[in-house]
């Protein structure tokens, strides 16, 4: 028992639940910080040229989303690149990971290269790829593929290799075929690990796209941020950054949802959902 459980917390006070009160505190801290920022800026303690006011960031949101509406095109360009690179990198990573995971000889000889690759900052290859493949979408996608290839690769590899020995023994003694062992033993344990790798990969893909755009400086949200901060239009640059924050949050939530859907056996609700579905199917058969 921890201390917090031992001390009874007052659940109700002034007609507000604990949850609501906490939300109010959160909101007031947030608003207080924003107000402090705005006031510091107005009083001249923070140079608005470098540290834009909250009000001017809000105004920039209005500008880039509605009045000029220039952010949509760049956002769209970046997202297409991210998705293309992510899908390519995932397929490559999971495929190679499985290939290497199931083959002990390849694994042994590939290990030193993997260690070296892991230590290299992979984003650093960006200028090389741009020089080799030229400016444009192809080199950007190549960078993203390279950046997000690694996490699914390593996770697939470890998911496939780290099989529970005792269960494997049981499967063997029951005379399970290779296919059965794969489907009923290896995959159920490996898929959550692979999904964790995919999450990392999607985040890395977004970073990779940004770096590629910083270097190429033609289009996309990364080059938009670069141009805005070069022009010291910091408010618009911040509006772009907060856009990426929202995007990152959506990506996080989306991947979580996908994870729950695909690896349903890892959570209670998913199990219930699938069980209900199967029960319904069985019911159909009986009728």
């Amino acid at each position: 028992m921890s201390v917090h459980d031992a001390i009874p917390m007052p659940e109700q006070r002034g007609g507000l639940s604990l949850r609501k009160r906490r939300l109010i505190i959160h909101a007031s801290i947030f608003l207080g910080l924003i107000a402090l920022w705005e006031i510091c800026s107005r009083l001249g303690w923070l140079d608005p040229l470098f540290y834009p006011r909250p009000s001017s960031i809000l105004h920039s949101f209005w500008l880039i989303y509605f009045q000029n509406a220039n952010v949509w095109y760049h956002l769209y360009t970046t997202m297409v690149l991210v998705l293309a690179g992510f899908i390519g990198g995932s397929i490559l990573g999971i495929g190679l990971g499985a290939l290497v995971g199931f083959n002990a000889v390849i694994r042994r000889f590939l290990k030193p290269y993997v260690i070296v690759l892991e230590a290299t900052p992979r984003i650093a290859v960006a200028p090389l790829l741009i020089a080799a493949l030229g400016f444009g979408a192809s080199s950007k996608i190549a960078i993203i593929v390279l950046v997000c290839f690694f996490a699914p690769f390593i996770n697939t590899l470890s998911g496939v290799v780290n099989v529970n020995e005792e269960r494997l023994e049981l499967f063997r003694s029951l005379g399970a075929s290779k296919m059965q062992t794969l489907r009923k033993l290896v995959l159920p344990d490996a898929v959550p690990v692979i999904m964790a790798g995919e999450r990392l990969a999607l985040t890395a893909a977004l970073s990779g796209a940004l770096v590629a755009e910083f270097i190429q400086r033609d289009k996309g949200i990364g080059s938009l941020i670069l141009v805005y901060s070069r022009n010291l239009n910091m408010a618009s640059a911040f509006a772009c950054i907060f856009t990426l924050t929202i995007l990152g949050f959506l990506i996080f939530r989306g991947m979580e949802w996908l994870d729950h859907r695909i690896a349903y056996w890892k959570n209670e609700a998913g199990m219930e959902r699938v069980a209900a579905k199967r029960a319904a199917q069985m019911g159909d058969l009986n009728v």
Partner: protein
Amino acid sequence: MSDVSSPKAPGTADHLMFRILPHLVLFAVLLLIWEMAVRTGIITSIIIPAPSKIIGAIWELYVTKGTIYRHFFITFTEAVVGFAIGAGVAVTLAVCSALWDPFKRYVSPYAIVLNVTPGIALTPIIIAWFGYGMGSKIALAAVISFFPIFVNTLTGLIQRDEDREELFRSIGATDAQIFRKLRVPAALPLLFAGLKIGLTTALIGAVVAEFAQATDGVGVLMSRFSFQLNMAASLATLLSMTVIGLILFYSMEFLDDRIVFWRRESRGAAASRAKARAWKSRMGQ
């Protein structure tokens, strides 16, 4: 005891040779195929230079001209200083959050916001704030290495082993003692895992900031060579980044081994032998 502790059993060297030899042979064969492919023109040498060219570039960069060293140390310093700042802030905030619940509750949303924002997106803004010199690289390295360290430290500190805590309380340990003797040691392995990730990210931060705008550093050297289409030199520079990455990673691994000694059996045995020696000498006095 003694035969377990002696690390060099007879024949270890031979085993090592036998283990490494196939790898070396494979590596040599791969290089040979690559070289042949470039020489016969199957691979365009502008895009992928021959290994001999790369070795020549390495020789030039590292030995005859020695241009790499200055840039190497600049990037190395940026990554390490940035990492130190990021790790310091992250560990401090994580300890405060673990010790004081309201702090955790009202700080964590901002940490999450920082996490879902791709830190690299801040590069141009940080350059506008901190200038073209080393400052901006250090700042970016600190910002993007912050989160993995913070989250790992916090997770490590708030995980509770109820049974052990019960034991500690029943023998009258104070809160401070529980924190120092139970929660910190339990958190250290996770903390080190976070530090390792953070160190790698700090290097990425330093290099990316150099790509965006800088005058010195491995990143600048690399993009300069790439845009001159001097791929061999560019790859030779990339190698230096790998070397930085390896140095950083293995020094952290070494610290991990020494500080979290109880996780490794051999280190645990060494530590207990040292303690036994200390006890014996104290008894002797």
